[in-house]
Amino acid sequence: MPPQAREEGHQVRVVALCGMGFGTSLMLKMFIGEILEAHGIKAELHAWDLGSFKGQDADIVVAPMDMKKHLEDYQGRVVLISNLTDRQEIEEKLLPVVREFLDAQP
């Protein structure tokens, strides 16, 4: 499946993933949005459930550490977070991956 185009004006598409798509991932998405905004990165953010995620395209996936086994076959960039309410952990793990992604863009 070809990558879908990102929404105009956004540099990176980040998908917060969880089992349902509106609880745990929504919490993650909130913190991710605040972090990236603070660093001046325009990101297209989504909260998705496992079912919707299959076959869809994300530049970076952020998921709870306890969902690691569901992502073992996924080839893209994945950031696994242990403490989902620890802004510092999310920032320290996510930012380098976002920067690496942005650097790799033409």
Partner: protein, 155 residues
């Protein structure tokens, strides 16, 4: 946090005995059932979700947020709190054992967002989470949510 405090009113059970994570989620679901927020089927759906997808709902050390889908039997947006007398293991690689269980339900994918955001902020503040563990009554819990001055740690 005022809205979170209002939502939790009458839905707090402290120092509840549970043998394992499944009983903990069931007891948490019963708090919302008794308040008329969810149908019993929703409680079973919350348990099934952990079984099928895993313990990722243990979002931060010691804290679980069990939930299921709107169509699993939510009557209105709701959140509760069960604090366990003894922590139980959910099988989380990183955040076990759990003593604070916040079950929630939403009739659609939007109505709970404000309250979930407030809960996220609360849980990102270790001082307040510690205060939830020390609180003696539901009133104390609600006071923590409303931002009452915290007792010094270790007191």
């Amino acid at each position: 946090m005022e809205r979170l405090a209002r939502c939790l009113t009458g839905r707090v059970a402290l120092d509840v005995e549970a043998r394992d994570w499944e009983e903990a989620v069931r007891l948490a679901g019963e708090v919302l059932e008794k308040a008329g927020d969810i149908e019993p089927a929703y409680t079973e759906a919350m348990i099934r979700t952990v079984r099928e997808i895993g313990p990722y709902i243990v979002v931060t050390p010691g804290v679980a947020l069990p939930h299921a889908r709107p169509e699993d039997g939510v009557l209105r947006a709701a959140i509760g709190l069960v604090r366990l007398a003894r922590p139980v293991s959910f099988g989380s690689e990183v955040n076990d054992p759990v003593d604070l269980v916040f079950p929630f339900g939403t009739p659609d994918r939007d109505q709970h967002i404000e309250v979930l955001a407030a809960l996220s902020r609360l849980l990102s503040d270790p001082g307040r989470v510690a205060a939830l563990r020390r609180a003696a009554t539901e009133e104390d819990i609600l006071a923590v949510l409303r931002g009452a001055p915290l007792a010094p740690a270790g007191s």
